[in-house]
Amino acid sequence: MWAEFSLTHAWLIPLLPALAFVLISFFLLSSPWLASRLAIAAMGSSFILALGAAAAVLTQGITVEAPFVMKTVWFSMPGLSVDMGVLVDPIAATLLFVVTLITLLVLIYSTGYMAGDPGYCRFFAFISLFAASMLGLVIATNFLQMFVFWELVGLCSYLLIGFYFFKVSAREAGKKAFMTTRIGDFGLLLGILLLQITFRTLDFAELAVKVPAYVAENGAASLTFIAILIFIGPVAKSGQFPLHVWLPDAMEGPTPVSALIHAATMVVAGVYLIARSFAIFSVLPGALTVIAWLGVFTALFAAFIALTQREIKRILAFSTISQLGFMMLALGVGSLTSSMFHLMTHAFFKALLFLGAGSVLHALHDQADIFQMGGLRKSMPATCLMMGTAVLAIAGIPPFAGFFSKDEILVAAAHVSTPIYLLASLAAFMTAFYMARLFILTFLGKPNPHNHPHESGLAMLVPMGVLAVLSVVGGIIPFAMGFGEWVRFGPAHHAGIDWAVAGASTVISLLGFALAWYIYGGGHTRSNDLTIKTGALYTWSFNKCYVDEIYQWFNRTFVGGLARLSFWIDIHALGAVVDNAWRGTGAAGSEMRRLQTGQMQQYAAVMLSATVVLVILLAALTGSLVKGGQI
């Protein structure tokens, strides 16, 4: 009953937060209590509906092959008909569950974290809008509908990164995010247009039928090109190299936003897009290879940068990029199950990490450098415990959530390509190392006397607690319940543990922990020594491999050069033409104005003479002055 209702009313899931956004932004901007409660109520209702939809998926035999679809024509014209509707299958249900849950928890957390902020109501309105867009994206039935929500999500990201718009850095970060993702959106849009031109449809279900047939007939070359274009969208949105640069800067937004958007939900939109259109990608081995290698490179690259960062949220941001790389890599090796699984567990523990970081920053009044922290375990025991859980989860220690999902990814990678597996394992080692580094420097060691930390309030601790529990059990329960039976592409995924891979990855993670403890556990001496010894490498990593600087240089040299060239052309070439045209007009005018004598009799003489000329002309043309003569 409840499940059935939720399924047929799945369109309410994005609509309720959208309604909350409208109500808050029009009526409740000056009533914080009501605004936050309304946002939470709308999100809670959506969460219950999402749970119902998930239950319906489990009980009513809705599978990837037979999804629940409800759609109507959005607009149509000759040669183009676009639907709008709701598509719920196990993949979408997973996302609905994750997004509504995390958003709900973040909203509750924010009532504490954002308390007293002048933009309190605006914050809740934006978060609601974001949730609505993300949920609309999840249940989209075709590429165009998805693209609309995709752009909305990008807008919300911009709004929330630039939330503290009075800070220059926040404004710049917002612009950077918007413009970087725009590159991806351009590629995605081109891909969508090419799909429409090639297949005359954008519907996921229809494409899933048409694409394999097309490949069997015409080969994969042109489609691989289209797929790569589409992939550019996720590259930007999900922070893959080389368009990852906006994600670390996105930490300028409020911490709950970082937790919600730039860690747990929005950035996985790209991963979800690939998963949703996996029927296209799965028949294109070239595209899959690109995705896999870009994913593993991103995972490694971001982990390498995260090793040396000092700001707590920046470390977590690069960690997010790295984990997104893992998800992409999983898709690239053809394992949709493990990608979605990791997406879900990552949402739990990364949201928890960010909320924990927010709690720490809240307590330390925005002291972000982890080397200035230390010893917080005494003053913030609950936060410390939950952060510890999350660190274990992300490092992949059994039986925490990350272990199961990361293990599945590594197994899938090992099946396909040994180099990818080895590189992914290296990234996992680095992950364990930098997470342990963060934890040790923040919570263990001697307290910094300049800090006066205090434990956060219940509104913040309760959502963290929920996430902590999920970080523990969020892996094993779905694993035991056969996650791969439902969320999959193609035949059901074998749900088992490859003990060799699992053991190796656990050992690798523990080694990472041990190394971190060895370097950072006993004061700062060893880490300083290491910094000096690895000089160039350290500087390279600390400066984020100079990607931003390269872009800056590119901008200055080529974009700026083009601008300067255009400026020169504008001034000296076009300007010359326009200026002289003006002079010509002016000269003509000053000559012509002599005709305007002000002598009315002259005007009358000219007018009458012209009349005579016209009459004679008319007579000459018609052959006679009068026609007929009949009066």
């Binding site: 009799q601 002259q602 003489a605 009458l608 003479s609 009349t611 005579v612 009459v615 004679i616 006679s624 002055l625 009068v626 003569g629 009949q630 009066i631």
Partner: protein, 168 residues
């Protein structure tokens, strides 16, 4: 006026007076002479109306033009010229050009009159009663409009003559 010879004589006589007087209006250097000759022209035209069997129109012409308009013009001359009148109506610098333009127009008109094969007949005799009836039936809207125009002209003339208020 149906009689052919009498009609012909009357026509030439009146046309001669009209055109001679009009020539005087245009060429006289004394503005007062021009004004009086204008009155003569109007009377000549009234006579031509008589030869066309439009007696009522002739009467109106004599009353309105020779009476009212000519008097108005003389008053206008009086108000604007207070010294010697002998050179009060000089031509401007474009006598030749003006003559050319006027002759061109006249040429076109004469050409049109001569070239057109007029199909003439005998129009119905128009009585004053006919005119009055038409004013109040077919032409009632323009009639009212003219009434309004005259009212506006009267008020406008008064306002203009009186001049704007002096700033105090």
């Amino acid at each position: 006026m149906g009689d052919g010879l009498m009609h012909t004589l009357a026509f030439y006589f009146l046309a001669g007076i009209t055109l001679a007087a009009a020539t005087g209006v245009v060429f006289k250097r004394n503005l007062v002479h021009s004004a009086f000759l204008l009155s003569v022209t109007f009377l000549g035209v009234a006579g031509l109306y008589m030869t066309l069997e439009a007696e009522f129109l002739a009467a109106v012409q004599a009353l309105v033009y020779s009476g009212a308009v000519a008097v108005l013009v003389v008053i206008g001359v009086m108000l604007t010229h207070r010294d010697d009148m002998s050179k009060s109506n000089p031509p401007n610098k474009m006598v030749v050009a003006g003559a050319g333009a006027a002759l061109a127009i006249v040429g076109v008109l004469v050409w049109a009159v001569v070239a057109t094969p007029w199909k003439t007949g005998r129009g119905a005799v128009v009585s004053v009663a006919d005119i009055g009836r038409r004013f109040l039936t077919d032409f009632a809207p323009p009639f009212e409009a003219v009434a309004l125009l005259l009212l506006a002209a009267v008020i406008g003339a008064v306002v203009l003559f009186k001049g704007g208020k002096v700033q105090s």
